[in-house]
Amino acid sequence: MTNLVELLKRILDYAIASGASYAEARFHNDFEKNIALKNGEVEAVEANYERGIGIRVIVNGGLGFASTNLLKPETITSVVDKAIKMARASSLNKKTAISFSEEEAYSIEWSVFEKKNLENWSLNDKVDFLKKLDDEILSQGVSVSSRYLAYSEERSERLYVNTEGAFISSRTTRPSFSALITVADPSKGVIQRTLQFGGSGGLEAVESWKLEEKLKEEVKALHKMLVDSIRTPEGIMDVVIGSEVTGIISHEASGHPGEADRILGREGAQAGESYLTPNDIGRKIGSEIVNLVDDPTIPGSFGFYLFDDEGVKARRKYLIKEGRIFEFLMNRETAAKLGVKSNGSARASGYDVEPIVRMSNTFMLPGDYTLEELLNDVSKGVYIKSFMEWNIDDKRWNQRYVGLEAYLIEDGKLTVPVKNPVIEITTEKLFTSIDAVGRDLGFTAATCGKGDPMQGVPVYTGGPSVRIRSIRVGGVG
């Protein structure tokens, strides 16, 4: 550890001596282990071990980044030299110099606490755990034509230093589980469901997911949808969405467009830009009961962190407050451009990629309604509990969610299952049509992709059940 800190500090000194006005170095020691059951049998145990250093520099107002896992001084200096040379050259093509917002330089260590250490959960136990889940899936009296169940755990140790005196050391552990289940019926065809669970912590996180119970429910629901669902009535009607659907909407229609790098055009050629402009703080985007936050500090969450990958302290951010845009997600570069402070939203998926603006746990805050109360007032509508297909345009305005488990609402009651109801709607229409927010806050684990090269980071999407009035519902097929 001492040697490592010394190495990082020498790198900073070298970068400054080579002409950088700012430098930071980030060391990662990341270990990931995966076990998957393919139709009930383990194929192989898999592991990935990543260990290296990423160095970011500002040179004459140009930004450079170098990374390597060859921790020999000559290799490190060679990649730093190249990054500095290219950053310097790029600065000649820039009208405005890159700078970072001024932030407090913390010196701190933080870690995720494992109540039940995953190291004590043996490989055999994990395989038995997956096999038991597989047995549960098969014992529901339903024809499951294929299933793929995967367990993964990631340990990440990170060390961050910069030339402003920051020193952040962290350790996180993240277990996760994912599944693809296909249920078949000779006359109705097939229906599929992908599932993901994840959190930070130890075995207690895995236990909290109650996977046996969840998978049983899912398999039964899939069978019911496949066999009993009727064609979704089409037209303008009220829709009640479950937590899983509220979560993806929060992530896609509020979280992504609220990323300041998109707003400023930096992701323009890949993930795209945003319907928001830098002047949109205070813009009305939803009804007054819509409050939406991004919060990395939730203990046990999949998107948990206490300091971001620029050493900035993490905090809850209100993206939408009482229906109005309240704050953007920012790193130090975008904060400086907007003349504010970073709110700790910089994340890098590995040592070999630059930290960029990311979400963590993005969710709509709960209200007071029970699900029954949300349904009570709907004479005819659709309840969409879960979804499979979704997408959204690259300004985050035109989106589509296709329901998986869904039911007709008639006179305030759930009646028959309906097949693949489709919501295809603009962001503003969606958020302004919300008239009641449930109290049943829930979270779904996901891996969010952004950046070029692509960076996948763990997040929660979340929210309660929500009622949306008078929107268009369509059907597939």
Binding site: A44, V45, A47, E50, R51, N69, L123, L180, D394, V476
Partner: protein, 441 residues
Amino acid sequence: MVELHEKVLKMLMEKGAEEAIVILRTHERSSVRYANNEPTIALSEVINTVTIYSSIRERSFLGSFENVSEDFIEKIVDDVITMTKNSPPSPYYAPIPKGPFNYRTGKRVEGRIRRMDEQLISYVSEAVKASRESGAERSAGIIYADHQEERLVSSTGLDLQEESSSISLNHRAFASSEATGQWVSCSTTLRDFDPYDAGRRAGEIARKSLNPRFIEEGVYDVYMGPLIFANIMSEVAGFASGFLVQIEMSFLSGKLGEKVGADELTIIDDPTMPQGLGEKIFDEEGIPTQRTVIIENGVLKNYLHNSRTARVAGTSSTGNAGIIYPHPWNIIIKPGNVKEEDMLQKLGKGLFLTNSWYQRYQNYKTGDFSTIVRDGAFYVEDGEIKYPVKGCRISDNLQRIISNIELLSDRLYPIKWWEVEVPTYAPTAVIRNVKITRAFG
């Protein structure tokens, strides 16, 4: 001198592995991201990875390790042996290939790409300039120069090495916030790399997209440019992976020998293509790669296999390992015989779409999906562009889409970017009866 990968193999066998494959990869990359006509960051990396496969009594382990310093080799090898022994025996196990094999020779690699640094910024400037000259206000994108060396040794005596390099530019031009155009230039040679052309084409699409209108939802005949067609076809080829087929995560599952697409459609995975972006001599098991016809004249001919998925399917590997996940290397859509400049006329009336992104599935087995139309999209009548359109989504079924392909142009474009990860050589295509939807509100 015994090299690292050879040393790891020797230690694995001494410590009890019955079979092992060790691959040492060194990846060097320089890249420049840019936005609003300016570089946003310049990047440089050198990364070594050791991939280790080992098996003991049909128990298997596969891992990649970046901690390749000599001090840690012993610990890594001990961990690998322990994890292999603790892994349960698998019915999917297949012995690693023995050979001897005949490998293609004469692969050419352009050394200059490896040494690229400041030159990349000049290329970016060329692309930005071309877009501006074509009528765009601003541009964003990324340029990559990649070089990789790969060494593979196995307990069955394979000792292989291969080198690859490529340069690729993904460029998006903005004539306004809703008038955009995208193009790519990617090549294994500097001779065929043309950032100016990519910038010019993206800029022209952006300019033509100014003041777009909404159109009604419905079923349209569609003319797809190479970016969107490559995007959708690379998904189709990806679904030929034996792994995805066996877990029913593919609309091609259970359809071998069946007609799944139009007569016009032939999709080939061809890593033997000289100087192809995905040219590859051997796969992750050391098996020589081969040209595999996936779909021929609309009939599903082959899945892509490694030894494991091949064993389950009762067939032979097609040289597409990934030891666990077989995948295509270099996708080629066989061109048609219509000149590209005649394609709009052949479309007659419908939509001309240039790009797409965010393809998601309701059901992988049935192929029900949707994808967002992005960048230039145009309403066409009498073979002519009438006006740009916006807010479109293709909401259809993958098998229906490929069954409705009517015409393919006679020219192939090499496409590789954020949305198209496996290099895909695609023509343009006329596809009939595509369901288009749009947002409410």
